[in-house]
Symmetry: C2
Subunit: 363 residues, 2 copies
């Protein structure tokens, strides 16, 4: 059990960087979430980050997040207020005080959005999340594997509309919330998956916000000391550098609210004469090297600028960028038959089985 720590605006800089790394190419731009969270912290004070084990078994815990396609989000700055409104509406609906906020998705923008609610509503934030990375659909959380219903869920937009969903399955929650989000202009703010402390202790991917902070902090230090940022990140994640090359071609399209596509790379230096391909649906899901599938979802694939270590999203891939690809094993919670049914390659429509990336640990 770790000691509680207070998160202020400075720590959020690191967490946002770490969130972009765990975003595995998607998850939305953490920069926007960071600005929202920093503003909330300046206004309401720092956020207490707690270990999931410090929750009472009957505590009420609620994840919050933003839903939508990153390509849309960058054009439409969300207001943090609506996330707080969603949280408070769900609290009113449940008829009791929510004891702690939870992060649904530690990768991308949602690594930082929960800090908005934690600060504004003065609740502790659990150090952990429901993915250990980023994923594009609402039911793709370890909470689903532990039988937690996504509903009752409150969904708000930036115009003042709100929706309460009560569904027969988390897949239906995704379908109905996705349709509403598209209609609302491409992004919406959610409070969902209400659960008790006992369930949270089983279902949460632990320590992922602390991991984000360490990733961001080490990256910052490596730059300051002229070290090798990519190597530092690989060390923390227990990841391998699986490619080093330049972006040659990117094909992307927005389908049903998702940014889908393929990126091709040509190798440089030690990887000259090798080819590399990524397939993404918001997040990088499959990595091929020289035509062979090398890394498959749920294992993590992340792209970093070869020099600075800055994480690069699928959105921002441009011809000629020189990048290094890292890969590491996902949380063991996903590497189960039930987990793979929810987020394995076949769920995303790829005709291949999961190939566990080398034995390794990922917090």
């Amino acid at each position: 059990m770790t000691t509680d720590r207070m998160i202020g605006t400075a720590e959020l800089e690191d967490i946002a960087i770490g969130g972009a790394i765990l975003g595995t190419g998607g998850g939305g731009d953490p920069y926007i979430g960071k600005l929202m969270a920093q503003q909330a912290i300046r206004q309401h004070g720092p956020v207490r980050l707690i270990d999931v084990d410090s929750l009472g078994n009957d505590a009420l815990v609620v994840p919050v997040c933003m839903m939508g396609a990153p390509t849309v989000m960058t054009e439409k700055l969300p207001q943090g207020d609506e996330l707080v409104i969603a949280f408070r509406k769900l609290e009113a609906l449940l008829g009791r005080r929510i004891d702690a906020v939870l992060c649904g998705e530690a990768g991308g923008i949602n690594s930082t959005t929960p800090f908005v609610v934690a600060a504004a509503a003065d609740r502790p934030l659990v150090d952990g999340d429901g993915m250990g990375r980023a994923y594009p659909e609402l039911q793709m959380v370890t909470f689903t594997l532990h039988g937690v219903s996504a509903t009752p869920m409150v969904l708000c937009d930036d115009k003042g509309n709100s929706i309460v969903l009560d569904t027969i399955s988390n897949a239906w929650t995704e379908r109905l919330a996705r349709a509403a989000t598209v209609e609302m202009g491409g992004s919406a703010l959610l409070a969902f998956y209400p659960m008790d402390g006992a369930t949270a202790k089983r279902a949460v991917v632990r320590g992922t916000l602390g991991l984000c902070a360490r990733l961001g902090s080490r990256l910052r230090q490596a730059r300051a000391t002229h070290g090798d940022p990519v190597a530092e990140i690989a060390d923390i994640l227990d990841a391998d550098v699986i490619f080093h090359g330049r972006v040659r071609d990117v094909e992307r399209r927005t389908v049903g609210g998702f940014a889908r596509g393929t990126a091709d790379f040509e190798g440089v230096e030690e990887w000259a004469d090798h080819r590399f391909r990524l397939q993404f649906q918001n997040e990088f899901l499959i990595a091929y090297r020289d035509g062979e599938p090398l890394v498959t979802t749920p294992d993590l694939i992340t792209l970093l600028d070869a020099e600075s270590g800055t994480p690069v999203t699928a959105d921002s891939l441009r011809y000629g960028l020189r990048l290094k690809a890292l890969a590491c094993a996902s949380t063991p919670l996903w590497r189960t038959p039930a987990g793979l049914e929810l987020i394995g390659p076949r769920y995303f429509g790829y005709d291949l089985d999961y190939r566990p990336f080398r034995a390794g640990s990922q917090p």
Copy 2:
């Protein structure tokens, strides 16, 4: 003020026929609604139809209806139970007993669906509706003209999913409910526009369920006595026969949940050598005769089988059918600038102004 009357399964036969006539080509198949309502009445007893003036000013009144494209509805028989669930969920949300059920749309399937709730929940049903006909969108009700919010609204599907909407405008309610309905498979059951008795007295198009019953009853009698069914219907509606001809060509497509299209006719007998065209979006909205717009929404256009007087929907238009077209003036509530902004030709994308069909009254 009229006397209350009890509606049983036999009266529903007439109301469903009248509902199809006021359906102006759309509104969904009243046959399905009739079956649902008759089953509910057999199980729970007849429904008391009351005059809106018998409501106390602070009574709570709630319209219920089915939402969706008629072409989808005929393939997927809705369960009346979900309408009762939507009603009871809204009642629980409002925190007080609903005193009376209201009909949102007297044309089409929703002329009969409110009887399901009135019977099952043992509440009186107000004789009247929010359209005096059928229209394709949720905000197209006289309630909107009187400042009533469509939300809080409960929307249920036949699978067990439910949604509560709380929106900034009735147009937003339509957008979000439409997206949900499409995702739910094409139809959904709603309870919405909660209002007090004082508002209902101002906003309701009065007596339209009684009108439906008279239309169905007179049609039945005309057939039994070998009279002229079309003339009888025209008499009750104070309508003109504006065309008599055969269907020559129908073009239809389902767009965003609506059945849109155009039907062309060639005249017979007194209308030989004349042409007739209808444009519809679920309902018949514009009638052209010999290339000139003759009747425009909100005035009513309805098609009847030339011999039997059976109303014919846009869905069931087939090459060669011999039909008569009737037209009559809409309720005066719609013939205002605010009304025309909501349901005039330009709202539906037609580049023409409303042309009031000859002075006349429609109950």
